[in-house]
């Protein structure tokens, strides 16, 4: 390996690392707030990318129909819960249904209408990207409502099983929504930079810039805004947060939505660079997981460190031993877990 190749591989590794870092941070966020290991995060990456590709091909992406159907089911679930609540405590305080209707029926309908309207217009890339995000991200709170909300007090391992079930449901639907073939989106940064004799691809620059921007935005969100502070409060002490009026369901939905948003942005960022198909999310998501394990699902900085370890290892092994790339990357869990054992104090009885 000569220095040029080494630097190129490093460049690749850093760009991928930024993506894994974002995903790992999203996973830490969801886990801290809800105790959910959000395995389907990779599917949100892929759904957004493939939705963008469909939009760029002047189609109405089929994810629109998924959004409408899942929205209807979520609304029905809310209505059923509303009726049950009323029977249990007539005249008691029940969550109003109009909010559910707006979120689960109106919003998907509006998004679908815009998507159809825009599908025949000339393409404007930022608008297409925004559309893809708008179609995919609202699925997250619906999924929380349907899959996780009935299980808030469940054993953490049950949440794990539900997560993997959601993951496979999304993969299964993905085949139907996007077909078996992989594709790439149109490049959004077709330029190159020369940096000290080293050619840096525009996409890499964009990925890093977006990651940095998103990290700052997340920081401001958690440090300065009320919803962000509320999420932090839930992460620190769920019961305490409930007592001061921060609902478990609302914070869970918000956490999943944020994670889906981060994943969707990752999807946009990587879509021109790699060929993605409906199955690709599994590997991307799991690598984010391996990274998040280093931080024990509580530390954002360690999760980022983990992400770059994973991606650099991936980048260099693809050069040295490309056939065994995944074997080596996933085996990384072993030293990471060993480190984790040393980093964590013995947590007796904590389950």
């Amino acid at each position: 390996m000569n220095p040029t190749v080494a630097l190129l591989l490093a460049q690749d590794g850093i760009a991928t690392g930024a993506i894994y870092a974002l995903l790992a941070m999203a996973l830490v966020l969801v886990f801290a707030v809800t105790r959910i290991p959000f395995i389907p995060i990779g599917e949100f990456v892929v759904y957004t990318a493939l939705t963008l590709i469909a939009i760029q091909a002047n189609q109405v992406p089929r994810t629109v129909w998924l959004l409408i159907i899942v929205g209807c089911v979520a609304f029905i679930a809310d209505v059923a819960a509303f009726i049950r609540e009323r029977e249990r405590a007539p005249g008691g305080g029940t969550a109003p249904l109009w909010f559910s209707a707006a979120q689960n029926l109106l919003l998907p309908a509006a998004i679908a209408a815009i998507a159809m309207l825009l599908s025949q217009k000339p393409r404007i890339m930022p608008l297409d990207m925004l559309m893809a995000v708008l179609i995919v991200v609202p699925l997250a709170p619906m999924i929380y409502r349907l899959a996780y909300q009935p299980l808030v007090s469940a054993n953490p391992l049950v949440l794990f099983m539900v997560s993997i079930a959601v993951h496979f449901v999304m993969i299964g639907l993905g085949l139907n929504l996007f077909g078996p073939d992989g594709d790439r989106a149109e490049p959004y940064a077709d330029w190159q930079l020369e940096l000290g004799g080293q050619i840096v691809r525009g996409q890499v620059v964009m990925v890093l810039a977006a990651t940095a921007a998103l990290t700052v935005i997340l920081y401001v969100f958690f440090a300065r805004t009320v919803p962000g502070k509320a999420l932090r409060a839930v992460a620190v002490n769920r019961v305490g947060a409930q007592l001061v009026g921060i609902g478990t369901a609302a914070s869970g939905k918000l956490a999943l939505t944020l994670a889906a948003l981060i994943a969707a942005l990752c999807g946009l960022l990587i879509s021109p660079g790699v060929t993605l198909n409906y199955l690709s999310g599994e590997l991307i998501g799991l690598k984010g997981f391996v990274a998040a394990v280093l931080g024990g699902f509580v530390s954002y900085p360690l999760a980022v460190v983990g992400a770059f370890i994973v991606s650099l290892l991936e980048s260099y092994t693809s050069f040295w031993a490309s056939a065994l790339k995944e074997v080596i990357v996933f085996s990384l869990i072993v030293p990471i877990l060993l480190l984790r054992t040393f980093l964590s104090r013995p947590d007796m009885g904590e389950h």
């Binding site: 469940a154 794990f160 079930a165 496979f168 299964g172 085949l175 056939a323 074997v327 072993v334 947590d347």
Partner: protein
């Protein structure tokens, strides 16, 4: 669990077993045999998950990878090296066992999530190794495996493999059931409540988790070996994460808490998968992994609505038989010699516990002598339960030292403290709600089992531990009788009233033959006559030479019972003396009544 005599088998089950046994003799299509062969192979893996999910509260998505290790090992051994499949089985166990042992080892001290994630990641690594290694035939796999045969009798035809597979399932199911109703199995089931309670009863939870995980992996490996010699070819596809998840799905579907649930789940899964694969695409058209979607949705619904799976719905209609039964007579367990009356038993010196800036316990010192009842009282939040935890090493001391009969115990793990003869109950009763009261109490006798030459697991699975079990269960029944629960041996512990649950905990602690007994609010929730009975029991224990440290709020109960009283407030000792002295102490009155 109903209070009825044990039945070896229930009538409906006998019919099912007979049908399974006779199936190949009936003129059925070979597709049926194939389906049932798969059910048996899946059931073997699901039986392992009964140990993990249903008992020990552990989760693995990597069982398919372990199946693969078993299958690929025998494939390599028989095709490349041309050796016997039986050697393949043993080597498969070895390879899988080592892999599982290592995964267990690195996750044993971490919370349950990490094992699940580790199994996913390592499962992925193993899968990609199958698909990319030249020697394993990459995506094409390995072909032309020999069929099984014993002494020239060939199992080439799938009707014959049927008997090998289902014979193995029967053995494994019986073994798992026997194991779960033994001393080791009870300890595994206790893991469901977390580590604190099992550790406080002498159970090495980290070691037990690794053991449970390895056992489940060995069952998976066996399934892989059978699969390889049934198909006589292996390829990577069936060993990926999707299949790892399917094993979890079928176990949860059938019911993870019983061996029958595992078999039922495997059966339903094969049936469902078949129906879904054929039906859904025809109904919905187009290409799609509809079965993946349907299975995923079903798993979510089951977890939300019927977390114990389908088996309990069926089992409720059948007569339950007891997992463990106390014999009327059994040899008495050896007891440890009691210290001479008045001999110092426990010395606590300068105990201190800080949580960040908060000092929960500060400079607390006290002694307990043999045959003495010491009461620890104080207002809520005074640090009494924390002191208990410090004495029994459930929590680590920030400073200070505890010695028990001259041995320093403050650096030992709580299981070692228990092993030396310090038993305890918890402020919030820590019983397994679905386990019988008898078995809950028997957990306390975990360290009083016999050694078995063939290993505890094999002895339990094969029921060679009968003598040991009789002794332990007899002891448990005896102690339950002593605390007044002799009539509730076979009630599920969760059905006891709260006060009775505390009594059951006392019985569990007594099963460990303690020299010193720490009771955290034993009289709370008891009715008057129950308190009187408890009081006389504690008197009796004292006269046998046992020392007791008691936290209690019921002063009337205490004052009559205690030899000495120490009083805590805001983490420090504020008074000590006889009950009368303490009752008249101005500092104590201030602490309880305010100024």
């Amino acid at each position: 669990m109903k209070d009825r005599g044990p039945l070896p088998f229930q009538a409906p089950l006998i019919v099912v077993i007979a049908l399974i046994a006779l199936l190949p003799l009936a003129p059925v299509a070979s597709a049926w045999i194939t389906s049932f062969n798969y059910i048996g192979l899946f059931a073997l893996v699901a039986l392992g998950l009964v140990l993990l999910i249903g008992s020990a509260n552990m989760l693995s998505f990597g069982q398919a990878a372990f199946v693969g290790l078993g299958a690929y090992t025998t494939a390599l051994v028989t095709t490349l090296a041309g050796l016997s499949p039986w050697l393949g089985l043993v080597l498969g166990w070895l390879v899988t066992g080592i892999a599982a042992y290592l995964i267990g080892l690195i996750t044993r001290r971490l919370s349950g999530h990490y094992l699940a994630i580790a199994t996913m990641a390592v499962g992925m690594a193993i899968y990609f190794a199958f698909a990319n290694l030249e020697v394993l035939g990459k995506n094409d796999g390995l072909n032309a495996l020999p069929h099984l045969s014993i002494l020239g009798f060939s199992f080439e035809r799938s009707e014959r493999m049927y008997y090998v597979i289902w014979g193995t399932v029967a053995l494994a199911a019986l073994g798992v059931r026997n194991l779960l109703s033994s001393r080791i199995g009870r300890a595994m089931r206790a893991l469901a409540l977390g580590d604190t309670m099992p550790e406080a009863n002498g159970i090495d939870t980290a070691r037990l988790k690794v053991l449970t995980f390895v056992l489940a992996a060995l069952l998976a490996s066996t399934s892989g070996w059978l699969y390889a010699h049934l198909q006589r070819a292996v390829s990577p596809i069936p060993f990926g994460l999707t299949h790892g998840t399917e094993y979890v799905f079928m176990t949860v579907l059938g019911g993870a808490s019983s061996v029958w649930g595992a078999i039922l789940g495997a059966g339903l899964f094969v049936l469902l998968d078949d129906v879904l694969r054929n039906l859904l695409p025809r109904l919905l058209g187009g290409d799609g992994h509809y079965e993946l979607v349907a299975l995923g949705v079903m798993l979510i619904v089951i977890l939300q609505r019927a977390r114990d799976g389908l088996w309990p719905f069926l089992a409720r209609r059948m007569t339950e038989y007891r997992l463990a039964e106390a014999p009327a007579q059994a040899p008495v367990l050896p007891a440890r010699p009691r210290p001479a009356p008045g001999e110092p038993v426990l010395e606590a010196r300068g105990l201190q516990k800080r949580f960040g800036g908060l000092v929960a316990v500060s400079n607390v010192s006290f002694d307990i002598k043999a045959g003495e009842i010491l009461a620890l009282i104080g207002p809520n939040g005074a640090g009494k339960s924390t002191t208990f935890d410090l004495v029994t090493s459930v929590q680590r001391l920030s400073a200070g030292e505890v010695s028990f009969r001259g041995t320093k115990i403050s650096d030992l793990p709580s299981r070692a403290v228990f092993a030396l003869g310090v038993g305890r109950t918890f402020q919030h009763a820590n019983l397994l709600p679905n386990m019988s009261v008898l078995e809950n109490a028997a957990l306390g006798a975990h360290l009083r089992g016999d050694g078995h030459a063939i290993g505890d697991v094999l002895a339990s699975a094969s029921r060679l531990n009968r003598a040991e079990e009789r002794k332990l269960l007899h002891e448990a029944a005896k102690q339950l009788d002593r605390v007044g629960l002799g009539d509730s041996l076979y009630t599920a512990a969760g059905n006891l009233a709260l006060g009775q649950q505390r009594l059951a905990e006392i019985a569990r602690a007594l099963c460990g033959d303690p020299t010193l007994l720490l009771l955290d609010e034993p009289a709370a929730g008891l009715r008057y006559f129950e308190k009187v009975a408890l009081s006389s029991l504690l008197h009796q224990l004292r006269s046998e030479g046992m020392s007791i440290l008691l936290v209690e709020h019921d002063m009337e109960f205490l004052m009559e019972l205690a030899d000495r009283v120490i009083v805590m407030d805001f983490g420090r000792l504020i008074a000590s003396g006889t009950p009368e002295q303490v009752q008249n102490d101005p500092a104590v009155r201030r602490a309880y009544l305010g100024d």
